[in-house]
Symmetry: C2
């Protein structure tokens, strides 16, 4: 494989990266990209690497890989309330496979174009397959959604449905018979970052992050940063109609469904806290946006960042064997 072939690939991305907005003063082709940050705005940046065989299956559909490599980064911007603007893409390929690259870039640019994000640079190198995406977004100065500002009495909210992506991953790892496997694989691979919701939350949420590792694991980050604890009401976890159907058909148990929703990860929904009196304002704002919000618990002041789980007002704990109901105790 010659350098020229790599130049071809670089050209391939460059040709698709025509600036979709005029904030790109100098794009691909100089030593750096030069980007216009409007006065009064701050820059939000996030970087993620996906390695073949570690973060994705080696036989992954390249269209979906290109899509998801960008989606997980845009989700980080959504979690700060930032508007996505620019991407750098560093892609390392063992060989030139034009069909693969074409499909990868089709998935990548489908999402980039949807959110009007410009590819402004990066690198194309030879080596074991991996992808590093660095996204940059803008946010008015001082309104970024942090993790460390949840406070006593705040409601804990999540967007969309939880657990679908986790069942998608489980069905790729194990041979589980499912009623609608394609739906869950799509939930895993074609997640839509909650950009609009993040922006609407700017002046309303007290803390926010995206759910990549699972509700309880990610909530702990907010609790630790905010010096709080949380009560979660299991019956309020938003499960999709599709997930409920799998339970109804006996393909998974209700306990498994709840576990996917609580700990599964890969949902890329937003997890946020909001003062109770601000929730109606948010609900009015999102009414036109086709965004679902569920209140799943409350924050309380506590030195330890614990999460108490309630099943219809009864404190429960979870173990390998399933849910245990008991009167007192903490998870």
């Amino acid at each position: 494989m010659s350098l020229n072939e790599f130049d071809l690939i670089k050209g391939y991305f460059k040709s698709k990266s025509a600036a979709v907005d005029n904030d790109v003063c100098i794009g691909i082709g100089d030593d750096c990209a030069i980007l216009d940050v409007p006065d009064g705005y701050q820059l939000a940046v996030s970087t993620d690497t996906l390695v073949s065989g570690v973060h994705f299956f080696t036989d992954v559909d390249p269209y979906r890989l290109g899509y998801k490599a960008l989606a997980v980064n845009l989700s980080d911007l959504a979690a700060m309330g930032a508007m996505p603007k620019w991407i750098s893409l560093a892609i390392t390929l063992p060989e030139i496979d034009e069909t693969w690259v074409s499909e990868f870039s089709r998935g990548f640019f489908e999402l980039a174009n949807k959110y009007k994000v410009s590819l402004v640079g990066g690198d194309t190198t030879k080596g074991p397959l991996s992808i590093t995406v660095s996204v940059k977004g803008l946010i008015p100065r001082g309104v970024a959604l942090r993790r460390d500002n949840a406070s006593d009495g705040d409601l804990i909210c999540v967007s969309g449905c939880l657990g679908d992506g986790a069942l998608g991953l489980e069905s790729k790892l194990k041979d589980i018979p499912l009623n609608d496997r394609a739906y869950f694989i799509d939930a895993l691979e074609l997640t839509d970052p909650q950009i609009k919701l993040g922006i609407l939350l700017r002046d309303l949420a007290s803390s926010c992050m995206d759910i990549s590792d699972g509700l309880t694991q990610d909530l702990k980050h907010i609790l630790k940063a905010s010096l709080c604890a949380a009560k979660i009401e299991l019956e309020k976890l938003p499960l999709s109609a599709a997930l409920k159907t799998e339970v109804a058909k006996g393909n998974i148990t209700e306990q498994q469904a709840l576990q996917f929703a609580l700990t599964g990860g890969d949902d890329y929904e937003l997890l946020f806290t909001i003062a109770a009196d601000k929730l109606p304002i948010l609900e009015k704002l999102i009414a036109d946006y086709n965004i679902n919000i569920s209140v799943v618990g409350t924050i309380y002041k506590n030195k330890q960042p614990i999460i108490e789980l309630f099943d219809n007002h009864k404190l429960v704990s979870f173990s390998q064997e399933g849910w245990d109901h008991f009167q007192q105790g903490k998870q």
Copy 2:
């Protein structure tokens, strides 16, 4: 290797990344870093990936790898006239080797601290060794040094000396007896990005880039972008005293020395063009900075981006056999 071990490594970098300036509003630990861009400034960004066995020797000294991974990116900022501010570091490691990571980060942060650049994020993943650095710098709106603005009569200038890094690389690839091998290896691996010069050139140079692939190859980018051609005077190429010593001792020929300087790459000096009447202004400005500048040629208007080489006013061409003197012709 467990996830916890990777978390240790992440913590290792995080502990060294205390914000060295107050423009980092939110640093490592949230979904994104939030960075303050002062009103009136533009953002300069550049991303480079270094892959083991491709861009560096697999047995490379990790201190020098950490240093150079940042240096080549800072050099891109220098070439735009930008002030470096923030870095994201995505590092993929096959295994945790604490000594290796410690040395890598020591080299990385030695340069980061020198230029007061803050590590604001990134990713640490398991996989074949590679490093992607994304740097962000600031530049007052509208003064970035482009490649497409060289014009007829401009002087072609380079900073420092040329060819030392190339001889360093050659001495690693082939067993060449050298008088001072360590000097040339240092020139290859411990290059100092020309940040100060880039900033001084902002209102003076008509075009600028850094020399990573070699003077002639990089100059062609300026010529193509500016629709110009160039004359280079070989006797004006700045060769270091060390390189001249290797020639004097017969370790390399004078032709080899000139070829390293012309085409060798890895110098990371700045190549820029400047109107003749502005050069004295620049020379006064840099007098206190210990920066050497050499005028090595001139720009002229031409549809083809050719480079003519002159040896004491005689047009010459270069072939595999060496330099050919002739009366007319073009390289």
